[in-house]
Protein backbone atom coordinates (compact mmCIF):
# COMPACT_ATOMS: atom_id res chain seq x y z
CA UNK A 1 0.00 0.00 0.00
CA UNK A 2 1.44 3.36 -0.95
CA UNK A 3 1.23 6.21 1.49
CA UNK A 4 -0.70 9.29 0.51
CA UNK A 5 1.02 11.28 3.21
CA UNK A 6 4.01 10.33 5.28
CA UNK A 7 5.83 12.02 8.14
CA UNK A 8 9.26 10.59 8.95
CA UNK A 9 10.98 11.53 12.20
CA UNK A 10 9.63 15.07 12.37
CA UNK A 11 11.03 17.25 15.12
CA UNK A 12 10.16 20.81 15.99
CA UNK A 13 11.24 22.80 19.02
CA UNK A 14 9.84 26.14 20.17
CA UNK A 15 12.25 27.51 22.77
CA UNK A 16 12.27 24.89 25.52
CA UNK A 17 9.16 23.12 24.24
CA UNK A 18 9.72 20.04 22.07
CA UNK A 19 6.40 20.36 20.22
CA UNK A 20 7.10 17.50 17.83
CA UNK A 21 9.51 14.81 18.94
CA UNK A 22 10.39 12.23 16.30
CA UNK A 23 6.88 11.99 14.85
CA UNK A 24 6.50 9.24 12.28
CA UNK A 25 3.09 8.70 10.79
CA UNK A 26 1.59 7.48 7.56
CA UNK A 27 -1.79 7.96 5.95
CA UNK A 28 -2.50 5.35 3.29
CA UNK A 29 -4.09 6.24 -0.04
CA UNK A 30 -7.84 6.32 0.41
CA UNK A 31 -7.59 6.12 4.19
CA UNK A 32 -9.36 8.36 6.70
CA UNK A 33 -7.09 8.41 9.72
CA UNK A 34 -7.94 10.04 13.01
CA UNK A 35 -5.42 12.07 14.99
CA UNK A 36 -6.31 12.39 18.65
CA UNK A 37 -4.57 13.46 21.81
CA UNK A 38 -4.81 15.95 24.67
CA UNK A 39 -4.59 19.70 24.16
CA UNK A 40 -0.97 20.70 23.72
CA UNK A 41 0.03 17.23 22.51
CA UNK A 42 1.39 18.72 19.28
CA UNK A 43 -1.42 17.86 16.88
CA UNK A 44 -1.70 21.31 15.36
CA UNK A 45 2.09 21.60 15.29
CA UNK A 46 2.15 18.37 13.30
CA UNK A 47 -0.49 19.73 10.91
CA UNK A 48 1.60 22.88 10.48
CA UNK A 49 4.72 20.81 9.83
CA UNK A 50 2.92 18.66 7.27
CA UNK A 51 1.49 21.60 5.38
CA UNK A 52 4.61 23.76 5.37
CA UNK A 53 3.55 26.48 7.83
CA UNK A 54 6.63 25.52 9.86
CA UNK A 55 9.81 23.96 8.59
CA UNK A 56 10.75 20.95 10.73
CA UNK A 57 14.07 21.04 12.64
CA UNK A 58 14.64 17.58 11.23
CA UNK A 59 12.68 14.88 9.49
CA UNK A 60 10.85 14.65 6.22
CA UNK A 61 7.32 14.88 4.82
CA UNK A 62 6.30 12.95 1.72
CA UNK A 63 3.17 13.41 -0.33
CA UNK A 64 2.37 10.51 -2.63
CA UNK A 65 5.93 9.22 -2.13
CA UNK A 66 7.60 12.51 -3.12
CA UNK A 67 9.23 14.71 -0.55
CA UNK A 68 7.56 18.06 0.09
CA UNK A 69 9.75 19.22 2.98
CA UNK A 70 11.17 22.63 2.31
CA UNK A 71 8.54 23.60 -0.24
CA UNK A 72 6.59 26.82 0.28
CA UNK A 73 3.06 26.48 1.63
CA UNK A 74 1.43 27.36 -1.66
CA UNK A 75 3.54 24.82 -3.54
CA UNK A 76 2.49 22.09 -1.11
CA UNK A 77 -1.16 23.08 -1.56
CA UNK A 78 -0.79 22.98 -5.32
CA UNK A 79 0.54 19.44 -5.12
CA UNK A 80 -2.77 18.42 -3.64
CA UNK A 81 -2.29 18.60 0.13
CA UNK A 82 -5.27 20.60 1.35
CA UNK A 83 -5.83 21.71 4.93
CA UNK A 84 -8.44 23.33 7.09
CA UNK A 85 -7.71 25.42 10.17
CA UNK A 86 -8.89 24.78 13.70
CA UNK A 87 -9.94 28.40 14.10
CA UNK A 88 -11.84 28.82 10.86
CA UNK A 89 -9.97 31.03 8.43
CA UNK A 90 -11.90 32.65 5.63
CA UNK A 91 -11.63 35.83 3.60
CA UNK A 92 -14.04 37.87 5.71
CA UNK A 93 -14.63 40.64 3.19
CA UNK A 94 -15.33 38.24 0.35
CA UNK A 95 -18.76 36.75 -0.13
CA UNK A 96 -19.40 33.01 0.19
CA UNK A 97 -19.21 32.67 -3.58
CA UNK A 98 -16.02 34.74 -3.81
CA UNK A 99 -14.37 32.62 -1.12
CA UNK A 100 -15.11 29.54 -3.19
CA UNK A 101 -13.87 31.19 -6.38
CA UNK A 102 -10.64 32.29 -4.69
CA UNK A 103 -10.05 28.69 -3.63
CA UNK A 104 -10.77 27.61 -7.19
CA UNK A 105 -8.47 30.14 -8.85
CA UNK A 106 -5.70 29.35 -6.35
CA UNK A 107 -5.25 25.85 -7.77
CA UNK A 108 -7.10 26.37 -11.02
CA UNK A 109 -7.54 23.00 -12.68
CA UNK A 110 -7.65 22.85 -16.47
CA UNK A 111 -10.96 22.46 -18.29
CA UNK A 112 -13.14 22.99 -15.24
CA UNK A 113 -15.84 25.64 -15.01
CA UNK A 114 -15.16 27.40 -11.69
CA UNK A 115 -18.51 29.12 -11.48
CA UNK A 116 -20.39 25.86 -11.96
CA UNK A 117 -18.18 24.21 -9.37
CA UNK A 118 -18.89 27.05 -6.93
CA UNK A 119 -22.63 26.73 -7.59
CA UNK A 120 -22.47 23.00 -6.86
CA UNK A 121 -20.51 23.60 -3.67
CA UNK A 122 -23.02 26.25 -2.52
CA UNK A 123 -25.76 23.63 -2.90
CA UNK A 124 -23.71 20.98 -1.14
CA UNK A 125 -22.91 23.23 1.82
CA UNK A 126 -26.54 24.43 1.96
CA UNK A 127 -25.28 28.02 1.96
CA UNK A 128 -27.49 29.02 -0.99
CA UNK A 129 -29.35 31.91 0.69
CA UNK A 130 -26.02 33.33 1.88
CA UNK A 131 -24.12 32.99 -1.41
CA UNK A 132 -23.70 36.76 -1.76
CA UNK A 133 -23.15 37.46 1.94
CA UNK A 134 -19.70 38.41 3.24
CA UNK A 135 -18.02 35.57 5.09
CA UNK A 136 -17.46 37.72 8.18
CA UNK A 137 -21.24 37.85 8.67
CA UNK A 138 -21.63 34.06 8.83
CA UNK A 139 -22.18 32.06 12.01
CA UNK A 140 -19.51 29.71 13.35
CA UNK A 141 -21.09 26.62 11.83
CA UNK A 142 -21.60 28.28 8.47
CA UNK A 143 -17.98 29.39 8.50
CA UNK A 144 -16.85 25.83 9.18
CA UNK A 145 -19.00 24.59 6.30
CA UNK A 146 -17.65 27.21 3.94
CA UNK A 147 -14.05 26.48 4.90
CA UNK A 148 -14.68 22.83 4.15
CA UNK A 149 -16.36 23.73 0.86
CA UNK A 150 -13.33 25.83 -0.15
CA UNK A 151 -11.06 22.87 0.55
CA UNK A 152 -13.13 20.65 -1.69
CA UNK A 153 -13.42 23.14 -4.58
CA UNK A 154 -10.45 21.61 -6.36
CA UNK A 155 -9.80 17.89 -5.80
CA UNK A 156 -6.76 17.20 -3.65
CA UNK A 157 -4.95 13.93 -3.02
CA UNK A 158 -4.82 14.34 0.75
CA UNK A 159 -6.73 16.49 3.23
CA UNK A 160 -5.51 17.46 6.68
CA UNK A 161 -8.44 18.73 8.73
CA UNK A 162 -7.68 20.38 12.06
CA UNK A 163 -10.74 19.95 14.29
CA UNK A 164 -13.40 20.34 11.62
CA UNK A 165 -16.18 19.50 14.10
CA UNK A 166 -15.24 21.75 17.01
CA UNK A 167 -18.05 23.89 18.37
CA UNK A 168 -20.66 23.36 15.68
CA UNK A 169 -24.20 22.02 15.83
CA UNK A 170 -25.14 18.41 14.99
CA UNK A 171 -26.81 19.15 11.65
CA UNK A 172 -23.75 20.94 10.28
CA UNK A 173 -21.49 18.26 11.76
CA UNK A 174 -23.49 15.71 9.80
CA UNK A 175 -23.17 17.74 6.59
CA UNK A 176 -19.39 18.03 7.00
CA UNK A 177 -19.15 14.34 7.77
CA UNK A 178 -21.07 13.49 4.61
CA UNK A 179 -18.84 15.76 2.53
CA UNK A 180 -15.71 14.03 3.86
CA UNK A 181 -17.09 10.56 3.19
CA UNK A 182 -18.26 11.54 -0.30
CA UNK A 183 -14.89 13.01 -1.30
CA UNK A 184 -13.13 9.97 0.15
CA UNK A 185 -15.31 7.53 -1.79
CA UNK A 186 -15.61 9.42 -5.06
CA UNK A 187 -12.05 10.70 -5.40
CA UNK A 188 -10.20 8.18 -3.28
CA UNK A 189 -8.64 11.06 -1.35
CA UNK A 190 -6.86 10.37 1.94
CA UNK A 191 -7.74 12.26 5.14
CA UNK A 192 -6.00 12.99 8.40
CA UNK A 193 -8.68 14.28 10.78
CA UNK A 194 -7.81 15.92 14.09
CA UNK A 195 -10.76 15.77 16.47
CA UNK A 196 -11.85 15.31 20.06
CA UNK A 197 -15.26 13.98 19.01
CA UNK A 198 -14.83 10.28 19.76
CA UNK A 199 -18.21 9.32 18.33
CA UNK A 200 -17.35 10.86 14.99
CA UNK A 201 -13.83 9.45 15.01
CA UNK A 202 -15.21 5.99 15.64
CA UNK A 203 -17.68 6.36 12.78
CA UNK A 204 -15.21 7.91 10.33
CA UNK A 205 -11.76 6.52 11.05
CA UNK A 206 -10.86 2.82 10.99
CA UNK A 207 -7.42 3.72 12.35
CA UNK A 208 -6.28 6.45 14.70
CA UNK A 209 -2.96 7.86 15.82
CA UNK A 210 -2.66 9.16 19.38
CA UNK A 211 -0.23 11.99 20.09
CA UNK A 212 0.92 12.89 23.58
CA UNK A 213 3.64 15.34 24.57
CA UNK A 214 4.89 15.74 21.04
CA UNK A 215 5.23 12.02 20.37
CA UNK A 216 3.16 9.37 18.71
CA UNK A 217 1.90 7.49 21.78
CA UNK A 218 -0.16 4.80 20.09
CA UNK A 219 -1.70 3.68 16.81
CA UNK A 220 -4.54 1.29 16.04
CA UNK A 221 -8.30 1.22 16.02
CA UNK A 222 -9.99 3.67 18.38
CA UNK A 223 -11.15 0.85 20.62
CA UNK A 224 -7.66 -0.63 20.78
CA UNK A 225 -5.95 2.62 21.74
CA UNK A 226 -8.76 3.60 24.11
CA UNK A 227 -7.95 0.57 26.24
CA UNK A 228 -4.33 1.59 26.78
CA UNK A 229 -3.77 2.83 30.36
CA UNK A 230 -1.50 5.68 29.20
CA UNK A 231 -4.16 6.95 26.79
CA UNK A 232 -6.88 6.74 29.43
CA UNK A 233 -4.73 8.49 32.01
CA UNK A 234 -3.32 11.17 29.73
CA UNK A 235 -6.23 11.90 27.43
CA UNK A 236 -9.59 10.21 27.77
CA UNK A 237 -9.88 10.33 31.56
CA UNK A 238 -12.01 7.21 31.56
CA UNK A 239 -12.52 4.26 29.25
CA UNK A 240 -14.80 4.85 26.25
CA UNK A 241 -18.34 3.47 26.55
Amino acid sequence: MTSALEAIGLRKRFGTLQAANDVTLSVDAGEIRGLIGPNGAGKTTLVNLLTGVYAPDSGEVKLGGRTISGLAMHEIARRGLVRSFQVTRLFGNQTVRENLMTAFYARRPANVDGEAAAERMIRLTTLGPLADTQAKKLSGGQRALLQMGCGFMVPGSCYVLDEPFAGINPVIKETILEMIVAVNREQGAAFLVVSHEMAIIRQLCPQVTVMMEGRVAAQGTLDEVARLPAVIAGYLGKALE
Binding site: A72, H74, L90, F91, N93, E98, T102, A103, Y105, A106
Partner: protein, 311 residues
Protein backbone atom coordinates in the same frame (compact mmCIF):
# COMPACT_ATOMS: atom_id res chain seq x y z
CA UNK B 1 -16.07 40.59 -20.61
CA UNK B 2 -17.80 40.18 -17.28
CA UNK B 3 -21.01 41.99 -16.43
CA UNK B 4 -19.16 43.92 -13.73
CA UNK B 5 -16.66 45.19 -16.31
CA UNK B 6 -19.40 46.24 -18.74
CA UNK B 7 -21.24 48.16 -16.01
CA UNK B 8 -18.10 49.96 -14.88
CA UNK B 9 -17.07 50.66 -18.48
CA UNK B 10 -20.48 52.20 -19.22
CA UNK B 11 -20.28 54.45 -16.15
CA UNK B 12 -16.68 55.47 -16.89
CA UNK B 13 -17.56 56.23 -20.52
CA UNK B 14 -20.50 58.38 -19.43
CA UNK B 15 -18.32 60.27 -16.94
CA UNK B 16 -15.63 60.76 -19.59
CA UNK B 17 -18.13 62.17 -22.09
CA UNK B 18 -19.51 64.60 -19.50
CA UNK B 19 -15.99 65.68 -18.53
CA UNK B 20 -15.07 66.10 -22.20
CA UNK B 21 -17.83 68.72 -22.54
CA UNK B 22 -16.50 70.87 -19.69
CA UNK B 23 -13.99 72.96 -21.72
CA UNK B 24 -16.86 74.05 -23.98
CA UNK B 25 -18.58 75.85 -21.11
CA UNK B 26 -15.81 76.98 -18.75
CA UNK B 27 -12.56 78.90 -18.70
CA UNK B 28 -9.06 77.51 -18.75
CA UNK B 29 -8.54 77.72 -14.97
CA UNK B 30 -11.34 75.25 -14.31
CA UNK B 31 -9.94 72.99 -17.02
CA UNK B 32 -6.51 73.22 -15.37
CA UNK B 33 -7.93 72.29 -11.96
CA UNK B 34 -9.75 69.31 -13.46
CA UNK B 35 -6.62 68.17 -15.31
CA UNK B 36 -4.72 68.05 -12.02
CA UNK B 37 -7.73 66.35 -10.41
CA UNK B 38 -7.57 63.62 -13.07
CA UNK B 39 -3.87 63.17 -12.33
CA UNK B 40 -4.81 62.53 -8.71
CA UNK B 41 -7.63 60.18 -9.74
CA UNK B 42 -5.00 57.99 -11.41
CA UNK B 43 -2.65 58.18 -8.41
CA UNK B 44 -5.43 57.50 -5.91
CA UNK B 45 -6.86 54.59 -7.92
CA UNK B 46 -3.46 52.93 -8.33
CA UNK B 47 -2.56 53.44 -4.66
CA UNK B 48 -5.96 52.00 -3.72
CA UNK B 49 -5.04 48.86 -5.69
CA UNK B 50 -1.99 48.42 -3.49
CA UNK B 51 -3.32 49.59 -0.13
CA UNK B 52 -7.08 49.23 -0.38
CA UNK B 53 -7.25 45.93 -2.23
CA UNK B 54 -4.01 44.16 -1.32
CA UNK B 55 -3.48 45.65 2.14
CA UNK B 56 0.01 47.00 1.48
CA UNK B 57 -0.26 50.46 3.00
CA UNK B 58 2.62 52.01 1.08
CA UNK B 59 3.57 55.63 1.68
CA UNK B 60 5.83 55.84 -1.36
CA UNK B 61 3.26 56.25 -4.09
CA UNK B 62 4.04 59.92 -4.67
CA UNK B 63 7.70 58.95 -5.07
CA UNK B 64 6.82 56.66 -7.98
CA UNK B 65 4.96 59.49 -9.67
CA UNK B 66 8.11 61.57 -9.21
CA UNK B 67 10.28 58.79 -10.63
CA UNK B 68 8.10 58.83 -13.74
CA UNK B 69 8.19 62.60 -14.00
CA UNK B 70 11.92 63.02 -13.29
CA UNK B 71 13.01 60.17 -15.57
CA UNK B 72 11.38 61.74 -18.57
CA UNK B 73 12.25 65.26 -17.41
CA UNK B 74 15.95 64.49 -16.91
CA UNK B 75 16.21 62.57 -20.18
CA UNK B 76 14.74 65.57 -21.96
CA UNK B 77 16.86 68.11 -20.04
CA UNK B 78 20.23 66.36 -20.37
CA UNK B 79 19.84 64.36 -23.58
CA UNK B 80 17.07 66.15 -25.43
CA UNK B 81 15.01 62.97 -25.54
CA UNK B 82 11.39 63.34 -26.63
CA UNK B 83 8.71 62.98 -23.93
CA UNK B 84 7.12 60.21 -26.00
CA UNK B 85 10.23 58.13 -25.32
CA UNK B 86 10.93 59.57 -21.88
CA UNK B 87 7.50 58.79 -20.43
CA UNK B 88 7.60 55.05 -21.28
CA UNK B 89 11.12 54.93 -19.81
CA UNK B 90 9.75 56.53 -16.64
CA UNK B 91 6.98 53.93 -16.48
CA UNK B 92 9.48 51.10 -16.81
CA UNK B 93 11.80 52.58 -14.19
CA UNK B 94 8.89 53.12 -11.79
CA UNK B 95 7.83 49.51 -12.29
CA UNK B 96 11.36 48.26 -11.62
CA UNK B 97 11.70 50.41 -8.50
CA UNK B 98 8.26 49.20 -7.39
CA UNK B 99 9.35 45.62 -7.94
CA UNK B 100 12.46 46.14 -5.82
CA UNK B 101 10.68 48.04 -3.05
CA UNK B 102 7.88 45.47 -3.09
CA UNK B 103 10.45 42.72 -2.64
CA UNK B 104 12.14 44.54 0.24
CA UNK B 105 8.96 45.13 2.25
CA UNK B 106 7.47 41.72 1.47
CA UNK B 107 7.51 40.37 5.02
CA UNK B 108 6.53 43.63 6.65
CA UNK B 109 3.10 44.27 8.00
CA UNK B 110 0.97 47.39 8.37
CA UNK B 111 2.89 50.12 10.17
CA UNK B 112 6.33 48.67 9.41
CA UNK B 113 5.59 48.61 5.72
CA UNK B 114 4.27 52.16 5.92
CA UNK B 115 7.42 53.37 7.65
CA UNK B 116 9.80 51.52 5.31
CA UNK B 117 8.09 52.82 2.18
CA UNK B 118 7.97 56.32 3.62
CA UNK B 119 11.72 56.08 4.27
CA UNK B 120 12.23 55.07 0.64
CA UNK B 121 10.27 58.11 -0.50
CA UNK B 122 12.20 60.43 1.82
CA UNK B 123 15.51 59.03 0.58
CA UNK B 124 14.52 59.80 -2.97
CA UNK B 125 13.31 63.22 -1.88
CA UNK B 126 16.69 63.97 -0.30
CA UNK B 127 18.53 62.70 -3.37
CA UNK B 128 16.57 65.00 -5.67
CA UNK B 129 17.42 67.95 -3.44
CA UNK B 130 21.05 67.02 -2.79
CA UNK B 131 22.21 66.10 -6.29
CA UNK B 132 21.14 69.48 -7.62
CA UNK B 133 23.80 69.55 -10.32
CA UNK B 134 22.02 66.68 -12.00
CA UNK B 135 18.40 67.14 -10.87
CA UNK B 136 18.44 70.94 -10.49
CA UNK B 137 17.14 70.36 -6.93
CA UNK B 138 15.05 73.12 -5.41
CA UNK B 139 15.81 75.36 -8.38
CA UNK B 140 13.39 73.20 -10.31
CA UNK B 141 13.86 71.12 -13.41
CA UNK B 142 12.31 72.76 -16.42
CA UNK B 143 10.69 70.25 -18.67
CA UNK B 144 9.44 70.54 -22.24
CA UNK B 145 5.68 70.71 -22.53
CA UNK B 146 4.11 67.79 -24.28
CA UNK B 147 2.18 69.74 -26.91
CA UNK B 148 4.28 72.89 -27.08
CA UNK B 149 1.54 74.96 -25.47
CA UNK B 150 0.51 75.86 -21.95
CA UNK B 151 -3.18 75.86 -22.86
CA UNK B 152 -4.58 73.14 -20.56
CA UNK B 153 -7.24 71.82 -22.95
CA UNK B 154 -5.16 69.24 -24.89
CA UNK B 155 -3.61 68.02 -21.62
CA UNK B 156 -7.05 67.80 -20.11
CA UNK B 157 -8.19 65.45 -22.88
CA UNK B 158 -4.96 63.47 -22.57
CA UNK B 159 -5.63 62.93 -18.86
CA UNK B 160 -9.24 61.94 -19.54
CA UNK B 161 -7.99 59.24 -21.92
CA UNK B 162 -5.28 58.14 -19.46
CA UNK B 163 -7.72 57.96 -16.56
CA UNK B 164 -10.24 55.96 -18.61
CA UNK B 165 -7.58 53.48 -19.74
CA UNK B 166 -6.12 53.10 -16.25
CA UNK B 167 -9.54 52.64 -14.61
CA UNK B 168 -10.67 50.07 -17.19
CA UNK B 169 -7.39 48.22 -16.73
CA UNK B 170 -7.79 48.23 -12.96
CA UNK B 171 -11.37 47.00 -13.26
CA UNK B 172 -10.19 44.08 -15.43
CA UNK B 173 -7.43 43.28 -12.96
CA UNK B 174 -9.72 43.42 -9.93
CA UNK B 175 -12.25 41.07 -11.54
CA UNK B 176 -9.53 38.63 -12.61
CA UNK B 177 -8.18 35.79 -10.45
CA UNK B 178 -5.36 38.13 -9.41
CA UNK B 179 -7.99 40.50 -8.04
CA UNK B 180 -9.43 37.68 -5.93
CA UNK B 181 -5.92 36.88 -4.71
CA UNK B 182 -5.26 40.52 -3.82
CA UNK B 183 -8.34 40.75 -1.62
CA UNK B 184 -7.56 37.33 -0.16
CA UNK B 185 -4.08 38.48 0.84
CA UNK B 186 -5.48 41.59 2.51
CA UNK B 187 -7.94 39.50 4.55
CA UNK B 188 -5.69 36.59 5.55
CA UNK B 189 -2.34 35.95 3.92
CA UNK B 190 -1.71 32.63 5.68
CA UNK B 191 -4.99 31.24 4.43
CA UNK B 192 -4.25 32.51 0.94
CA UNK B 193 -0.97 30.58 1.00
CA UNK B 194 -2.66 27.48 2.37
CA UNK B 195 -5.03 27.48 -0.60
CA UNK B 196 -2.11 27.49 -3.02
CA UNK B 197 -1.78 31.19 -3.81
CA UNK B 198 1.76 32.39 -4.43
CA UNK B 199 1.28 35.49 -2.29
CA UNK B 200 4.85 36.67 -2.78
CA UNK B 201 4.38 36.92 -6.52
CA UNK B 202 0.99 38.59 -6.27
CA UNK B 203 2.19 41.20 -3.78
CA UNK B 204 5.28 42.10 -5.78
CA UNK B 205 3.32 42.17 -9.03
CA UNK B 206 0.73 44.53 -7.55
CA UNK B 207 3.50 46.74 -6.20
CA UNK B 208 5.08 46.93 -9.65
CA UNK B 209 1.78 47.54 -11.44
CA UNK B 210 0.63 50.30 -9.11
CA UNK B 211 4.08 51.92 -9.26
CA UNK B 212 4.10 51.78 -13.05
CA UNK B 213 0.71 53.51 -13.16
CA UNK B 214 1.96 56.21 -10.78
CA UNK B 215 5.02 56.63 -13.01
CA UNK B 216 2.78 56.99 -16.07
CA UNK B 217 0.66 59.66 -14.41
CA UNK B 218 3.78 61.42 -13.13
CA UNK B 219 5.38 61.42 -16.57
CA UNK B 220 2.46 63.15 -18.24
CA UNK B 221 2.03 65.47 -15.25
CA UNK B 222 5.64 66.62 -15.60
CA UNK B 223 5.23 67.51 -19.25
CA UNK B 224 2.12 69.47 -18.38
CA UNK B 225 3.33 71.52 -15.41
CA UNK B 226 6.77 71.93 -17.12
CA UNK B 227 8.61 72.65 -13.86
CA UNK B 228 9.47 69.77 -11.53
CA UNK B 229 10.66 70.19 -7.97
CA UNK B 230 11.35 67.79 -5.07
CA UNK B 231 8.08 69.16 -3.69
CA UNK B 232 6.52 66.28 -5.66
CA UNK B 233 7.77 63.92 -2.93
CA UNK B 234 6.71 66.08 -0.03
CA UNK B 235 4.78 64.00 2.48
CA UNK B 236 1.76 66.26 2.02
CA UNK B 237 1.44 64.81 -1.50
CA UNK B 238 1.18 61.29 -0.10
CA UNK B 239 -1.20 62.45 2.62
CA UNK B 240 -3.39 63.95 -0.08
CA UNK B 241 -3.59 60.62 -1.92
CA UNK B 242 -4.48 58.80 1.30
CA UNK B 243 -7.13 61.37 2.20
CA UNK B 244 -8.63 61.16 -1.30
CA UNK B 245 -8.98 57.39 -1.10
CA UNK B 246 -10.24 57.36 2.48
CA UNK B 247 -12.84 60.03 1.77
CA UNK B 248 -13.89 58.29 -1.43
CA UNK B 249 -13.97 54.78 0.02
CA UNK B 250 -10.90 52.72 0.91
CA UNK B 251 -10.74 49.43 -0.97
CA UNK B 252 -13.67 50.22 -3.25
CA UNK B 253 -13.38 50.71 -7.00
CA UNK B 254 -15.42 53.90 -7.02
CA UNK B 255 -13.72 55.38 -3.93
CA UNK B 256 -10.63 56.99 -5.45
CA UNK B 257 -12.62 58.21 -8.46
CA UNK B 258 -15.22 60.09 -6.43
CA UNK B 259 -12.73 61.02 -3.71
CA UNK B 260 -9.83 62.47 -5.70
CA UNK B 261 -11.56 65.10 -7.79
CA UNK B 262 -13.59 66.81 -5.02
CA UNK B 263 -10.61 66.82 -2.66
CA UNK B 264 -8.33 68.36 -5.29
CA UNK B 265 -10.93 70.95 -6.28
CA UNK B 266 -11.66 71.91 -2.67
CA UNK B 267 -7.93 72.06 -1.87
CA UNK B 268 -7.30 74.31 -4.85
CA UNK B 269 -9.95 76.80 -3.81
CA UNK B 270 -8.87 76.68 -0.16
CA UNK B 271 -5.33 77.63 -1.17
CA UNK B 272 -6.22 81.31 -0.92
CA UNK B 273 -6.62 80.82 2.83
CA UNK B 274 -2.91 80.00 3.12
CA UNK B 275 -2.12 78.02 6.25
CA UNK B 276 -5.82 77.75 7.03
CA UNK B 277 -6.12 75.53 3.98
CA UNK B 278 -5.06 72.42 5.88
CA UNK B 279 -7.07 73.22 8.99
CA UNK B 280 -10.26 73.75 7.00
CA UNK B 281 -9.50 70.63 5.10
CA UNK B 282 -8.96 68.60 8.26
CA UNK B 283 -12.34 69.79 9.48
CA UNK B 284 -14.01 68.63 6.28
CA UNK B 285 -12.31 65.25 6.63
CA UNK B 286 -13.49 64.88 10.23
CA UNK B 287 -17.07 65.80 9.35
CA UNK B 288 -17.10 63.41 6.38
CA UNK B 289 -15.58 60.59 8.41
CA UNK B 290 -18.13 61.19 11.15
CA UNK B 291 -21.07 60.68 8.82
CA UNK B 292 -19.77 58.18 6.32
CA UNK B 293 -16.95 55.90 7.43
CA UNK B 294 -17.32 53.93 4.23
CA UNK B 295 -16.60 57.00 2.18
CA UNK B 296 -18.44 58.86 -0.53
CA UNK B 297 -18.63 55.72 -2.67
CA UNK B 298 -21.16 54.18 -0.28
CA UNK B 299 -23.55 57.05 -1.10
CA UNK B 300 -23.55 55.90 -4.70
CA UNK B 301 -24.07 52.21 -3.97
CA UNK B 302 -27.90 52.27 -3.71
CA UNK B 303 -28.14 54.30 -6.92
CA UNK B 304 -25.68 51.98 -8.68
CA UNK B 305 -27.69 48.93 -7.66
CA UNK B 306 -30.97 50.48 -8.79
CA UNK B 307 -29.59 51.48 -12.19
CA UNK B 308 -28.34 47.97 -12.93
CA UNK B 309 -31.10 46.13 -11.06
CA UNK B 310 -28.62 44.41 -8.77
CA UNK B 311 -29.48 42.67 -5.54
Amino acid sequence: MSASFRRSAAAIALAAVLLALVPLVTGSFVVHVLTIALYYVILAASWNLLAGYTGQFSLAHHAFAAIGAYTSGLMGYHLGVSPWIGIPCGVVLSAICGLILGRLVLKMRAIYLAIATWAFAETFHIYLTADYKFTRGELGLSVKSLYGTTNPVPYYYTFIVLAVLVLLGLRLLIDSPIGYFMRAIKDDELRAKSLGIDTTRVKIAVFAISSAIAGLAGGFYGHYVVLLSPQMIDFSEMAKIVVMVVIGGFGTFLGPIVGAAPVQVVMTYLQSYGEWNLAVFALIVIVLMRFSMEGLASLFTPLWKRVWHLK
